[in-house]
């Protein structure tokens, strides 16, 4: 996974609550056995006017001009501003893959669904949870100021607005550490292989029916 370095980027506001992972990347694209290639189908049903299927040339498909990511002012956006319970529903990791491969590096919302939250961090997509009132204000600012950008400093755990306001956010120390160093979590866990073995041996003795 790539290291998350602090960055600033254009903000795209997606103004709806409970955006589910079926909407982030519809099921037909889950048939792929690859980890890449999902960016063009991010929000497929909202983004295009026709029905998307794997293997289509997405550059030839009719875009929905009303969808926020298709508006000229949001081209090249790197930060997605979202509402409550973003990423609910299916556990598909294709959702953070699609967001990252589209070009998003961070999502800011008042709340995220549990599995999506974990999946995102495993792939270096930073999720920033901010108070609903603050998110509301960012939505207003983003709508009112074309070219609205935010600066994210992961080390400092802060988001800075164009007006110079700095907003702090919380992040678990372990997640921050992994993100900043681009660490492979499996490698980290395997450093404890001996402990896992000991635990397993004890478990096998105490509850042998679990080891058929």
């Amino acid at each position: 996974m790539d290291k998350f370095i602090s960055r600033e980027g254009l903000v795209a506001p997606l103004d709806r609550a409970n955006v589910d992972t079926d909407a982030v990347i519809p099921k037909q694209f889950l048939k792929s056995i690859k980890r890449t290639g999902y960016g063009p189908n991010l929000f497929d049903e909202w983004r295009y006017l026709d029905h998307g299927e794997p293997g289509m040339d997405n550059s030839k498909r009719p875009l929905n001009p009303d969808f926020v990511l298709n508006q000229p002012r949001y081209q090249g956006a790197q930060i997605l501003l979202a509402r409550e319970n973003f990423g609910c529903g299916s556990s598909r990791e294709h959702a953070p893959w699609a967001l990252l491969q589209y070009g998003f590096q961070a999502v800011i919302a008042p709340g995220f669904a549990d599995i999506f939250f974990t999946n995102s961090f495993k792939n270096g997509l930073l999720l920033i949870k901010l108070d609903g009132g603050i998110v509301d204000r960012l939505f207003k600012e983003a709508a009112g100021q074309p070219g609205y950008r935010l600066a994210i400093d992961l080390a400092e755990q802060s988001v800075t607005t164009p007006g110079g306001e700095t907003i702090k956010f919380d992040i678990e120390p372990f997640k921050k550490h992994c993100l900043m160093n681009g660490l492979d979590e499996i490698g980290l866990t395997l450093e404890h292989a001996a402990e896992i073995k000991t635990f397993e041996t004890r478990r096998r003795e105490q509850q042998p029916w679990l080891f058929n």
Binding site: R16, A17, N18, D20, D22, A23, P26, K27, Q28, L30, K31, S32, I33, K34, R35, E45, H51, P54, G55, R83, E84, N85, C88, G89, S90, S91, R92, E93, P96, G111, A113, D114, I115, T118, N119, K122, N123, E172, P173, F174, D184, E185, I186, T189, L190, H192, A193, E195, I196, F199, E200, R203, Q207, P208, W209, L210, F211, N212
Partner: protein, 475 residues
């Protein structure tokens, strides 16, 4: 020791090590694998030069992409076929305790075959790259869905990095009315606490109503815990659980069985155990539920009406209702019973077990699918459920009534195979998600219980299954 909740006990029993900030490495007993979320995990494993830690923890099946008819033709869609064959190859290469591939007599939806084969047992940690893994918690185990990176992590290390959630007790007491099912309890709970109401929690369903439910009904309930945003759903072990597990192919036997049962009987919350939150429900007040919108929390009773956004004071909520009504092509204040349907889907890991099919067949028996319904399909959750249903003659009842009787799989729950709604079609579905496009792009899903789905099929619109019974009773 202080009184502990069931969740505390299951958690404590699996902690390999714990960091000062509470991040823990927890051991995984059972890893369920299916074709959609595993290929990239196996690939990652291989690229890193790693091997599965404990192959005997793995039970696998192909369910999401498999067709539900014309099995003799195999999987016609080449993209789906490649994904299913990739699972075949990975299991062949790396191994598993049990594999139920496409066409196997015990193949089926991963969350149906786990419990029915005894692959999921009380006291286990159970994971799968699928959010509805919460289902298995009905057996008194800690079961939750994970993403593909975590699938790879479990393959490589037999562990997951987790933080403990808070504990929410959903306490349901009293007697359920006739025609009211576990599905209705699940929807009523989500209607009350919301789809984010359980975020940050694991839910224990408790109370005498839950105790009186069969294991299959508990599976339905725990299946939907994820729709309330919870990481896991669970029910304490009791005699009903133990009776259910006994004799299953992968369940322990003989002296080992007795030893296991002695341990399983401890898997319940201690008296006086503290929950972070408790939500109470009166079972007698729960009515058959029907969702009207594009989120499981957008739900009302069969006697209810489509809500009026004008009456919603909260602006964001009002916009959410308006958007959902537009997508669902529904007018405010329409009685639910006036909503006509185009298709009916009875199946999915929520409601495709034998008791679900019996409940639907009871309604379908001697009746006919209404003329305006283009397709009513029954998709058993597994090969074993299908065989059992056929032994009981349920297939004949459905076919005589005009339902299609299909082969097992996820089917129209998410429409990765051919079973899909066309744009604009409206479906009464026993699945668990009514998201936009979930059952097919532009499709409109109303979540209901199996009996309510069958009732809608014969009436052509939503109808109170209890009134249907009366009509028949009084001639």
């Amino acid at each position: 020791m202080a009184a502990r909740t069931l969740y505390d006990k299951l958690w404590d029993d699996h902690v390999v090590r714990q960091e000062a900030d509470g991040t823990a490495l927890i051991y995984i007993d059972r890893h369920l694998v299916h074709e959609v979320t595993s290929p990239q995990a196996y690939e990652g494993l291989k690229v890193a030069g790693r091997k599965p830690w404990r192959v005997s923890s793995i039970v696998a099946t192909a369910d999401h992409n498999t067709p539900t008819r014309n099995w003799d033709k195999g999987i016609e869609d080449p993209v789906s076929r490649l994904q299913v064959e990739t699972l075949d190859d990975n299991i062949k290469e790396w191994g598993a305790l049990s594999y139920f591939p496409f066409l196997h007599e015990r193949q089926g939806i991963v969350h149906v075959i786990g419990p029915e084969n005894g692959a999921t047992l009380p006291g286990m940690t159970v994971v799968c790259g699928d959010s509805h893994t919460s289902t298995h918690g009905a057996l008194g185990c800690l079961a939750f869905g994970i993403g593909t990176s975590e699938v790879e992590h479990v393959l490589a290390t037999q562990c997951l990095v987790q933080k403990k959630t808070k504990a929410l007790q959903v306490l349901v007491e009293g007697k359920l009315g006739a025609g009211v099912t576990a599905k209705d309890i699940a929807l009523a709970v989500i209607g009350k606490i919301g789809t984010a109401g359980g975020t940050g929690y694991s839910i224990e369903f408790a109370g005498d109503t839950i105790r009186a439910l069969s294991v299959e009904a508990r599976l339905t309930l725990c299946n939907m815990a994820i729709e309330a945003g919870a990481r896991a759903g669970m029910v304490a072990v009791d005699e009903t659980t133990i009776e259910y597990v006994k004799g299953r192919p992968l369940a322990p036997t003989g002296a080992m069985w007795d030893k296991a049962v002695a341990h399983w009987r401890t898997l319940k919350s201690d008296d006086g155990a503290l929950f972070d939150k408790v939500v109470k429900f009166d079972a007698a007040a729960i009515e058959p539920q029907v969702t009207w919108g594009t989120s499981p929390e957008m739900v009302t009773t069969i006697g209810g009406k489509v809500p009026d956004p004008e009456k919603e004071g909260n602006l964001a909520k009002r916009e959410g209702i308006e958007r959902a009504l537009k997508y669902m092509a529904l007018k405010a204040n329409t009685p639910i019973t006036d909503i006509q349907i185009d298709k009916v889907f009875i199946g999915a890991c929520t409601n495709s077990r034998i008791e679900d099919l019996r409940a639907a067949a009871d309604v379908a028996r001697g009746r006919k699918v209404a003329g305006n319904v283009k397709l009513a399909m029954v998709v058993p959750g597994s090969g074993l459920v299908k065989r059992q249903a056929e032994q009981e003659g349920l297939d004949k009842i459905f076919v005589a009534a005009g339902f299609e009787w299909r082969e097992p799989g996820c089917s129209m729950c998410l429409g990765m195979n051919d079973d899909q709604l066309s744009p604009g079609e409206r479906c009464a579905s026993t699945s668990n998600r009514n998201f936009e496009g979930r059952q097919g792009a532009g499709g409109r899903t109303h979540l209901v219980s199996p009996a309510m789905a069958a009732a809608a099929a014969v009436a052509g619109h939503f109808v109170d299954v209890r009134s249907l019974a009366e009509v028949e009773h009084h001639g």
